[in-house]
């Protein structure tokens, strides 16, 4: 085994109709009512496939796209398990990859709350059925409707015990509040109870209807700008979770932070610590601990996107400013994003000696792979 764990692979459906079969009676009909007559006829009677693209309740529009393409050219956008396995897992010798549904991140922007609840259930069942069954090296995080915290908690309890489920995604703030807000307590508690880390992913907050801006100061003009500042919503959620004392109440709760890269972390924690010293009366439950200490104990940060136009020696010095970062970072390819990074590229840019931890050891420890999903891994080895 290579020891490589990839904390961030994004899977997607080729068409949202893949999900319709996973919806309960009534909701499948709801979807059929809300697509064009030509597509309805096609899906119901096996008629000719319409030439126009299907536009349904789950068709998301993204304001920010890479003009040269969002995905690696030969990736099929992460819609095919075989492609992910062959061109990513096998090619790089990855032991374990964590899936995060890319388009489904926008579920917080579905304003019909009951539909959002059903869709997250369907996405999770589809993920298990189409992806996790197909490949034991894959595990996935559960998608939950953050706009309906109680129902989100139910979903965590419904599927949290599955061997290949290794996290709970809080992608977009469905209630336009940062994630330490007590309105989200049912989600925190269910994750704590099932022992699953919560996965914070940048990108979801970019949806139009979720109510919270993805970055401060107004909507970005360009994709380049939007992506450069993708870490801002993550910062807000992290600050909120720490200063609101969520981990003081739920001491075993852990978080995996994805999609904002790693470069924002160190200087921003200095800033958070400094302000906590000045205004600690709002967070007395932290006692003598600084926010950065809570962060190191409870958070992991994925490396994607890793692209930084810095001279290698400068970048290495920068990342090495806080030696504690080597215990916090975990390799995250972001596959099939256009700028997905191979493990050797990431490790090559890091300070000397950080490689093994970042490539896999940190993630294995954090995800408790040894006592959870590793069972299915070892059974593969025996059979293989």
């Amino acid at each position: 085994m290579s020891g490589i764990v990839d904390c961030f692979v994004q899977h997607a459906w080729a068409s949202e109709t893949e999900l319709y079969d996973y919806l309960p009676d009534g909701w499948r009909e709801y979807m059929m009512v809300h697509i064009s007559p030509a597509w309805r006829a096609h899906l119901a009677a096996d008629g000719p496939r319409p030439t126009e693209p299907l536009v349904g309740p789950l068709s998301v529009s993204r304001a920010y796209r890479n003009p040269y393409g969002d995905h690696l050219p030969d990736s099929r956008g992460g819609t095919d398990p075989e492609v992910v396995v062959e061109r990513h897992l096998d090619r790089l010798g990855i032991d374990r990859a964590l899936l995060c549904p890319s388009d489904a991140m926008l579920v917080a922007s579905i304003p019909t709350v009951r539909l959002a609840v059903q869709v997250t259930r369907a996405v999770n069942d589809w993920t298990i059925d189409r992806w996790l069954r197909a490949e034991p090296r894959l595990s996935a995080s559960l998608l939950v409707p953050t706009q309906a915290p109680q129902q989100a908690a139910e979903e965590i309890r419904r599927l949290g015990g599955h061997d290949q489920i290794t996290g709970v995604i809080m992608g977009a703030g469905g209630l336009a509040k940062p994630f330490g807000h007590p309105v989200y307590s049912p989600i925190h508690e269910a994750a704590h109870e099932t022992g699953l880390p919560i996965v914070l992913v940048a990108g979801g907050d970019g949806s139009n209807d979720a109510g919270a801006p993805a970055i401060a100061g107004g909507p970005a003009a360009t994709y380049a700008e939007h992506r450069t500042l993708a870490h801002q919503s993550l910062q807000s959620h992290v600050a909120s979770l720490i200063t609101q004392g969520v981990m003081s109440r739920l001491p075993d709760l852990r978080f995996l932070v994805l999609g904002g890269g790693a470069a924002w972390v160190t200087p921003w924690l200095w800033r958070l610590d400094t302000n906590h010293r000045s205004f600690r009366y709002d967070a007395l439950w932290l006692g003598n601990r600084l926010p950065s200490e809570v962060f190191r104990e409870h958070f992991m940060v994925g490396t994607h996107p890793f692209g930084l136009a810095a001279p290698p020696d400068r970048l290495r010095a920068y990342l090495g400013l806080d030696p504690g970062l080597q215990d916090v970072l975990c390799y995250a390819s972001g596959y099939p994003d256009w700028d997905s990074s191979d493990p050797d590229v990431v490790v090559g840019a890091l300070p000397k000696g950080w490689g093994p931890k970042v490539k896999g050891d940190n993630a294995k420890h954090f995800l408790r792979l040894h006592d959870r999903a590793l069972r299915s891994l070892s059974s593969t080895e025996v059979s293989g």
Binding site: E225, S236, H237, A317
Partner: protein, 375 residues
């Protein structure tokens, strides 16, 4: 004996009460602001985060019962100008949201009044060390441009305050008349943290923070976006002589954000074909930031190590005391953290470039305060 010149680019002055400003407003506003007896605040609503002591300022900077810190020249002179022997300060008003008032007629007139008040009360020659900003109604850019042209002849007006994110991010084309006018009169634009706070919900990514510490740790988000957006929006490409000073937004974000932005340059060129240079080149040539706040919880020496990873950053940071805020700093505190060869630039040289003030070389040796007394 020679010492370094010291320019302080962020000193907050204010009116003792809104009543001071009413005299400077056209008569048609007098009833509006005083109709109920007490004078209304001009400020727009913003979320309130409790602060120790009830104010965001140094408790020793309160001039007297009920008086706002920064409203007394005498106290400012004692606590800042004389105590630290500062050569020039830039008066930047104090957390004013008026320029972004949703009633733009009101915003226009309040800005004019504030500029007249500044000229009368602070820039009247009582102290040769005082320079100030002009406040403009950012939500009414054409009127703002007129105001810039009106106040620019006063040699003590040293910059144009972009006081509020009234129309969204500051790289938006809507603000173009302001940048045109500032370029034409040769004044820098000066922005300050808090620029986004009068627009509920846009000040922070992902929603309103739930505590003061959280809010302060996220305060740089809007400013960082504005700087990025002014670069991306082509403001500096179209106005190659325009200078931006962004106060109190910190500087530790500079390496990671600019490296990431530069990494997206080929994409950016497809989205904004007018951009001819790397984002970091515009930053190096046309953007400056203030020295405060400093993240004092960083392990000793680490902030300097961070700065040294980004080539040329020593030319970008301008000393600011941020007087009278609770975390204000002295020149010695700031200089003490920096390598000796950076000090002249951070204490005065960089401010000289962005504000058009004389450099050490141009000004010659500065006499000590004792030699200057009586002058």
């Amino acid at each position: 004996m020679k010492r370094n010149r010291i320019y302080d680019v962020d000193v907050h002055n204010t009116w003792a009460s809104a009543a001071e400003l009413v005299d400077y407003l056209p008569a048609r506003w007098h009833d509006y602001f005083q109709g109920t007896g007490a004078v209304r605040s001009f400020a727009t609503p913003m979320p309130t985060y409790s602060r120790p002591g009830g104010i965001t300022d140094r408790l020793d900077a309160v001039p007297g019962p009920g008086l706002a810190p920064g409203s007394s020249y005498d106290l400012m002179r004692e606590q800042l100008l004389d105590r630290y022997d500062i050569d020039r300060v830039l008066l930047t008003f104090s957390g004013k949201s008026e320029p972004g008032h949703p009633n733009s007629d009101l915003a226009i007139d309040v800005c004019r009044a504030a500029n007249d008040w500044m000229a009368d009360r602070w820039l009247d020659g009582r102290d040769e060390r005082l320079y100030g900003l002009a406040m403009v109604p950012t939500g009414a850019p054409v009127a703002a441009a007129e105001e810039i042209r009106r106040v620019a002849p006063n040699p003590r007006v040293a910059g144009v305050a972009l006081g509020a994110n009234a129309l969204g991010r500051l790289g938006h084309l809507a603000y173009e008349p302001i940048y045109d006018a500032a370029t034409e009169v040769g004044l820098p634009v000066v922005c300050h943290v808090g620029v986004d706070l009068s627009m509920l919900g846009y000040g922070y990514a992902a929603g309103l923070p739930t505590s003061r510490a959280e809010q302060f740790a996220l305060l740089d988000q809007g400013p960082v976006h504005h700087i990025v957006d002014m670069i991306v929006g082509g403001v500096f490409e179209r106005h190659p002589t325009l200078r931006l000073l962004f106060n109190e937004c910190g500087f530790s974000w500079i390496p990671s954000v600019l490296w990431t932005l530069d990494e997206h340059y080929s994409i950016l060129k497809a989205e904004k074909p007018e951009l001819k240079r790397l984002p970091s080149e515009y930053f190096h040539d046309q953007v400056w930031v203030s020295s405060q706040p400093f993240d004092s919880e960083a392990p000793a020496g680490k902030t300097l190590e961070l700065l040294e990873t980004f080539t040329g950053i020593e030319d970008k940071i301008c000393f600011s005391s941020d007087y009278p805020h609770h975390d204000s700093e002295s020149p010695a505190q700031v200089a003490g953290r920096l390598p000796r060869e950076w000090r002249e630039r951070v204490l005065a040289g960089n401010a000289a470039r962005v504000l058009g003030w004389p450099t050490e070389a141009e000004a010659g040796a500065v006499p000590l305060a004792a030699e200057r007394s009586g002058g």
